[in-house]
């Protein structure tokens, strides 16, 4: 088993997400995350899908995705060079100035950002790869995380293939 990052270009039409999600549930494939958004071409969306599978299941996932009429192309990024990012927002307890300062220190040292300040909490935003995001969550956890929202991974193939 392993995690694989697939990037699928799909028709930007209603119902396509349901087709892809339905395919995964009907065939018992595991999705770790799925992020979808429009591309440079408004008629096309990109779905970045992180799949938890063995090699053979992964082959089936790719083929089954390709079989959907609304799927234009499926790329398996895992084998080659690619960059990926995820966005997270973390609402942390910050009930006094002392704590607030400590959170600010963490935020400054990690390159994150505070995007909302309330009386008893702040919302921290971070963009990065999985490790960076995980590290930030662990640093903030002791202060009391109230809630988290994250986007799931988006990824693009890198053109710098070292040649």
């Amino acid at each position: 088993m392993g995690k694989f990052v697939l990037s699928a270009l799909v028709e930007n039409k209603f119902g396509v997400l349901a087709r892809v999600a339905g395919l995964f549930s009907a065939r018992g494939f595991n999705i770790d995350s799925l992020a979808v958004g429009e591309t440079e071409d408004v008629t096309v969306s990109r779905m970045t899908i992180v799949v938890d599978a063995d090699e053979r299941t992964l082959e089936q996932v790719k083929k089954q995705l390709n079989k959907l009429i609304d799927v234009i192309r499926v790329q398996d990024l895992t084998g080659g060079r690619y960059v990926d990012r995820e966005l997270i927002m973390i609402k942390v307890k910050a009930e006094n100035t002392n704590i607030r300062e400590k959170i600010v220190q963490i935020v400054d040292s990690t390159g994150a950002e505070i995007i909302d300040v309330a009386k008893k909490s702040v919302i921290v935003e971070e963009t990065g790869d999985e490790h960076k995001i995980k590290a930030l969550v662990e640093l903030l956890r002791p202060y009391g995380i109230i809630e988290i929202a994250r986007t799931g991974k988006i990824a693009l193939q890198s053109e710098t293939n070292g040649k």
């Binding site: 799909v10 028709e11 119902g15 349901a18 087709r19 339905g22 395919l23 009907a26 053979r56 082959e59 089936q60 083929k63 089954q64 390709n66 079989k67 959907l68 009429i69 609304d70 799927v71 234009i72 192309r73």
Partner: protein
């Protein structure tokens, strides 16, 4: 250009696609469409008595002719009644366009009267589906639907048509071409891979062709005969592949799998090269997967990449159209013989033939053989329902040609055969069309007797009546200590319920009952001679089993052979 309504645009689009018949059932949201169809003389509309009858009829029509079958149902319950038939067509790769009415666009999602989310419901059982939101899209959608349904690995496509779209006005312009960027089926096989198979055939000692329904869809029967004869390779067929290779050819091993011949299954286990053609290594074929064909290099020719290496690891895959690829393969391979291999197989054939008790009782296998004999050298299409009668037909009917065997293989849909026979007869009016049925299955769509009588679509229904849901009873006998839970349909010696003869007569068809072995042939001949629809009720031995049999999940050489 003058404007016409969406309903008329749909009718004209169907005419452009060459549709000659629609099986269907009207309803509230289809009034305008029905009215336009009523006026269109080039399309025959056949009103079935249940939407399930319509969808199976469209399926049978498609399987018998190779053309796209079309069915129509109204919104809500009309549409949901198509579901089983769409799933049946999807499993067996049948080209079909199902059109459903839908409530007004503005009401979709409001739980309106007779609303069902048929797009959501059929997403996983169609090749593709469309909700028409604007009349401007309608011609393109119809064009794409027929294209998708009939190309690549065929399958059902559903078009959901809100009632307001049927009323919207637009100019009619039918597209000449289709371009779907996400759908480009591969037809030509990779020549390097084809050569690899040819070399494997020349090197290996025990090759075997394993031929499935894809070979029939592709029209590859002649090419398979050529390949098999040139390279001297025995041929086994899946349930869906029957007819792709003549049963009476010395190289035929008949069907493989759960109820396949012993010699076919033994050949699979012994083979050192298996060439799968348009087959998908279904669990009913492979049995226990990790012991399947342990000695074989596996080559797989299929148009659907998802079928390759899904269940069984494939050594030489070739993606593309079977007919094209087999033709190239037959040209590429050098002449070869496999005398030793045939000697081994001949020994198995002699040792483990298909057999049944030959006594005074009406044995179902005898009935099938007699039907087979009665239509020999005639143009006949055999349909079936699902269960024991279906397996006896697959075993004992000697199919010689493709598209003469129509049965629900993948989904195993009871109630399929009779409406499918109706569709087949509409598509092939010159052929004798027979539905071989069980007393359980036939009752699932018996209402279509009204349709075949009213529409003058004469089909012959041969019921093998054992008073049980026989296949389930067989499993209960073998694996559940003969506890016949919910499988008896009638009591031995009691009054028939229903009386199929009277039932047939009440619909205006002819009914014949046979209880005596000596009357079997006579009844079949009478039925075939009769102009209209005939139901023959063969009262057969009640607890007959289908043998050989591979218990579910067992290795396919672990067969129960049954009686001595």
């Amino acid at each position: 250009m003058s404007k016409i309504s969406g309903a008329e645009i749909l009718v004209k689009s169907l005419c452009e696609e060459g549709v000659e018949v629609i099986f269907g059932y009207p309803g509230g949201v289809l009034l305008s469409l029905a009215d336009k169809l009523y006026a269109e003389k080039s399309i025959r509309f056949i009103l079935t008595r249940h939407e399930q009858g319509a969808v199976h009829a469209a399926d049978g029509y498609a399987r018998a002719t190779g053309k796209v079958g079309v069915c129509l149902a109204t919104s809500g319950p009309g549409a949901t009644n198509l579901v089983t038939g769409i799933a049946t067509a999807n499993m067996d790769s049948v080209p079909m366009v199902a059109i459903t009415g839908q409530v007004r666009s503005s009401l979709i999602g409001n739980d309106a009267f007779q609303e069902a989310d048929i797009i959501g419901i059929t997403r996983s059982i169609t090749k593709h589906n469309y909700l028409v939101k604007d009349v401007k899209d309608l011609p393109r959608i119809v064009k794409e639907a027929f294209f998708i349904a009939s190309t690549g690995r065929p399958g059902p496509v559903l078009i959901d048509l809100p009632v307001d779209v049927t009323l919207q006005q637009d100019e009619f312009k039918y597209p000449r071409t289709v371009d779907i960027r996400g759908y480009k089926p591969t037809y030509g096989g990779h020549i390097g891979q084809i050569k690899k198979i040819a070399r494997a055939i020349e090197q290996k000692k025990k090759p075997l062709l394993y031929v499935g329904g894809g070979a029939i869809i592709s029209g590859a029967a002649a090419e398979i005969v050529e390949l098999s004869h040139k390279a001297d390779i025995p041929v086994t067929m899946t349930f869906m592949g029957l007819g792709a290779f003549p049963a009476d050819d010395p190289l035929s091993l008949g069907m493989l799998g759960m109820h396949g011949t012993a010699y076919a299954n033994m050949a699979v286990q012994e083979a050192d090269l298996i060439i799968a053609i348009g087959a998908r290594f279904d669990d009913r074929v492979t049995g226990r997967i990790d012991t399947f064909a342990p000695n074989a290099t596996i080559a797989h020719i299929d148009i659907d990449p998802t079928s390759v290496s899904k269940n069984v690891r494939v050594d030489i895959p070739v993606i593309g159209d079977a007919k094209t690829i087999i033709k190239e393969l037959a040209a590429e391979v050098n002449k070869k013989d496999h005398i030793e291999w045939h000697r081994t197989i001949a020994k198995w054939k002699k040792e483990y033939p298909l057999k049944y008790k030959d006594d005074d009782q009406v044995h179902p296998q005898y009935v099938i053989e007699t039907i087979c004999d009665a239509v020999k050298d005639k143009d006949a299409v055999i349909c079936s329902e699902v269960g024991q009668h279906q397996m006896w037909t697959a075993q004992f009917f000697k199919f010689a040609k493709p598209r003469t065997w129509i049965s629900s293989g993948g989904l195993g849909t009871m109630g399929f055969g009779f409406p499918a026979a109706m569709g087949a007869k509409v598509g092939r009016p010159e052929a004798i069309v027979i539905d071989i049925a069980g007393d359980g299955s036939i009752q699932m769509n018996i209402q279509e007797l009204a349709t075949v009588v009213m529409e003058r679509i004469p089909v012959k229904i041969f019921i093998l009546n054992n008073g049980y849901l026989g296949m389930v009873r067989q499993w209960q006998e073998l694996f559940y200590s003969r506890r016949y839970a919910f499988t008896p349909l009638s009591k031995e010696g009691a009054t028939q319920c229903p009386d199929f003869v009277k039932l047939a007569e009440s619909y205006g068809a002819k009914g014949i009952r046979v209880t005596d072995k000596s009357k079997v042939r006579e009844a079949i001949d009478t039925a075939l001679k009769e102009e209209g629809t005939v139901v023959v009720d063969f009262v057969i031995s009640r607890e007959e089993n289908v043998f050989p049999m591979v218990p579910a999940g067992e290795s396919i050489d672990k067969m129960i052979h049954g009686l001595a």
